[in-house]
């Protein structure tokens, strides 16, 4: 990513967050508003500064590309979507069933294909069983840590 784009993106992100909090601060007053308002003003000024800095860098041609590592975007999108779906189905299926589905599904999707689908499915199933057992024995049995319950299980 070019440094000018990074500056503008970060500036906009800061402005969006400051704006969202400002929009929510309508009914607040006194000590409740003092600290957040100071931060919102600081962030608004900082966000504008970063946007202007990014634009100036772009105009002056000082926006050398940063030496970022290449990113496997598809894999990032898949695990992100998987994680959101996983957390969303926990209240329905319960922690263990949702986790088993997530672990098996994600390891099938994200593992490399060398060795064939059958081998991959076996490895994914073994991984799912081992991790679910570890979590159940370690967290639920030994430590007594509660796990989210679902409507079905």
């Amino acid at each position: 990513m070019r440094s000018s784009v990074a500056d503008i993106a970060s500036g906009l992100a800061v402005l969006v967050i400051a704006g969202a909090f400002h929009a929510q601060s309508g009914d607040l007053e006194g000590v409740s508003l003092l600290f957040p308002r100071m931060l919102i003003i600081f962030m608004a000024l900082g966000g504008i500064y970063l946007c202007v800095l990014g634009l100036l860098k772009g105009r002056k041609g000082e926006d050398a590309p940063q030496d970022d590592e290449p990113v496997a975007v598809t894999r990032v999108v898949m695990i992100s979507a998987g994680a959101i779906a996983y957390v969303a189905i926990i209240p329905v299926l319960g922690f263990y069933l949702a986790s088993a589905l997530y672990l098996f599904g994600m390891s099938m999707v994200l593992s490399d294909a060398s060795g064939g689908t059958r081998k991959k499915a076996l490895a994914s199933a073994a991984f799912t069983v081992v991790l679910c057992l570890f979590v159940w024995i370690g967290f639920a049995m030994l430590l007594g840590v509660p796990t989210p319950e679902g409507m079905l299980f």
Binding site: S3, A6, D7, A9, S10, A13, V14, I17, A18, F21, Q24, S25, L28, G30, V31, S32, L34, F35, P36, L39, F42, M43, G46, G47, L50, D68, E69, P70, V71, A72, V73, R75, V76, I79, S80, A83, I84, Y86, V87, I90, P91, F95, S99, Y102, L103, M106, S107, L110, S111, D112, F127, L131, V135, F139, L143, G144, V145, P146, T147, P148
Partner: protein, 514 residues
């Protein structure tokens, strides 16, 4: 005091107490290493078990879990860039780069030995200086605590000296996020965005798990690496770390341990603040501060010695005044009270046998931590030989259960996901997740103490400025904050002067050759 020390050491050699120390340490290290499971949770879970034991044995076990869990947080901080406990946030700054460079064993051994050193220094203070230090801690009110947090926050300036504006904005973002929920001063709900469960506020630990753990999963999955990091155990790593710690790190270790003990005594200020301040000080006093963040032993040593020294510090006001210096100390205090033991200065005379056995057990626990910690670290490094895909998916599941366990709320699980995306995006555009984490940790304390100062000024009819500046401790903290803020400029000036010196030396050299 001396009449109690001999019998106290004798108690430590009882087989049951040795067993409890080993079990407590092992359990504590494992709990600490798992993201989301904190030292407080580990100790609280074991309190009911102590009811079946005599008070001395119960306290020994709780102390062992406490020490083990605070150290254990560094294992995941070094190996997967996920602080197991909030106290280990600063350990990730250099522990994770060491792991990425294939030197995970150096990071783990440094964190172990530094934790042991910090733990012992904290216990020495507890043993010999408990009374005067407890009186000093009592002088910390709203203004002093406010400036202490601002001093901690000034670390951002040193941490993000490469891009200070982005660092400061990230810190402000963290502070703003920490205002979500019930206002600590007047109890008004704020910034819930129409979603009622947000009244509970943003809990620090799920936010940390999201910023460091889930975002790290996205980063690792997005890389084309088959494993988290290359790792080959280096022969002689233990000796190398010992030589570094005894040699060039000894001042750093001692300074960080003293900072940890002093911060630990203050109610509300815990290992996370101590480790960040110590890291900052270590960087500030180093001749080559630019090395920090690239994987240096000094950074890990500063953070880990400070957070384990907090243990001794937090026990000082608990034992002498009955005021716990940390959440874990509060749980231990509860266990003491349940046994009918009233903390206070009398605890060292009326129940001196118990008090000194507990203090001496902290020495024993820290020494036992070396073999147990080394064994567990060796097992945990096996994580690096598992394929990255499996590790990343497993981290997501562990993050979910760890975050849910804090308040039994799905809100915390969603916080992990949201902060994970925020952390990943921040990393891509150059915002500083460390500074953001610092803001989230310090935000509630800053706001609460700011509110106290405003109320104090209204009650006294004076201005807030007077309240802020009226005590010598507050003024000292302000001076330290200003020094900390000036550090990046001083370092820059020093670097330019050094570069300038090289430039001048270069032509001379050339002219000699000519």
């Amino acid at each position: 005091m001396m009449e109690f020390i001999g019998p106290a050491i004798g108690h430590l050699f009882e087989p049951l107490n040795i067993l409890l120390m080993v079990a407590g340490l092992t359990g504590g290290i494992i709990v600490g290493a798992l993201p989301g499971l904190t030292a407080t949770m580990g100790v609280a879970l074991m309190v009911p078990a102590t009811f079946a034991m005599d008070a001395t044995s119960g306290l020994i076990m709780l102390g062992a879990i406490y020490a083990g869990a605070i150290y254990g947080g560094s294992n995941s901080a070094c190996l997967i860039c996920t602080p197991g406990t909030p106290s280990s946030v600063a350990t990730t700054f250099d522990g994770w780069p060491l792991c990425q460079a294939g030197r995970a064993d150096i990071g783990l051994i440094t964190s172990l030995l530094s934790s042991v050193f910090g733990g012992i220094v904290g216990t020495v203070f507890l043993l010999f200086l408990a009374a005067p230090l407890a009186r000093f801690a009592l002088q910390f009110g709203g203004p002093e605590n406010f400036w202490l947090c601002i001093f901690g926050l000034s670390t951002i300036a040193v941490m993000s000296s490469g891009n200070m504006v982005k660092g400061l904005l990230s810190g402000a973002m963290g502070l703003l996020v920490s205002t979500v929920g019930i206002d600590p001063n007047v109890g008004v709900p704020r910034f819930t965005f129409g979603y009622y469960p947000l009244v509970q506020g943003i809990e620090v630990i799920p936010a940390m798990i999201g910023l460091f753990s889930f975002s790290q999963v996205l980063y690792l999955i997005g890389s084309y690496k088959p494993f988290i990091a290359d790792y080959k155990p280096a022969p002689g790593a233990f000796g190398e770390v010992v030589r570094a710690l005894v040699g060039r790190c000894k001042v750093n270790l001692m300074r960080s341990s003293i900072i940890g003990t002093l911060v630990g005594m203050l109610p509300g200020a815990g290992g996370e603040i101590a480790s960040i301040i110590s890291y900052n000080e270590a960087k500030r006093w180093d001749k080559n501060p630019e090395r920090y963040g690239t994987g240096v032993i000094e950074g890990v040593a500063a953070s880990e010695s400070a957070n384990n020294a907090v243990i001794g510090g937090s026990l000082i006001p608990m034992l002498t005044l009955g005021i716990p210096g940390s959440a874990v100390a509060a749980v231990i205090l509860g266990a003491l009270l349940a046994k009918g033991i009233q903390p206070g200065f009398k605890v060292f005379t009326a129940t001196g046998d118990l008090a000194y056995t507990f203090i001496m057990s902290q020495f024993a626990v820290n020494l036992l931590m070396i073999p147990i910690g080394l064994l567990l670290a060796r097992i945990m490094t096996k994580l690096l030989s598992i394929r990255l895909t499996f590790v990343a998916i497993a981290i997501v599941v562990l993050s979910v259960i760890g975050s849910y366990a804090i308040r039994n709320s799905m809100l915390d699980v969603w916080i992990v996901i949201v902060f994970g995306f925020l952390g990943y995006f921040s990393g891509r555009v150059g915002l500083d997740t460390g500074a953001m984490a610092l803001g989230i940790i310090l935000g509630p304390m800053i706001e609460e103490n700011l509110g106290k100062c405003v109320h104090l000024s209204k009650a006294s009819g004076g201005s807030v400025i007077n309240v802020f500046l009226e005590s010598p401790i507050a003024i000292l903290l302000i001076v330290l904050t200003l020094l900390s803020l000036a550090t990046p400029f001083l370092l820059d000036w020093k670097r330019k002067r050094r570069d300038c010196g090289c430039d001048i030396a270069q032509p001379k050299e050339n002219s000699t050759h000519a």
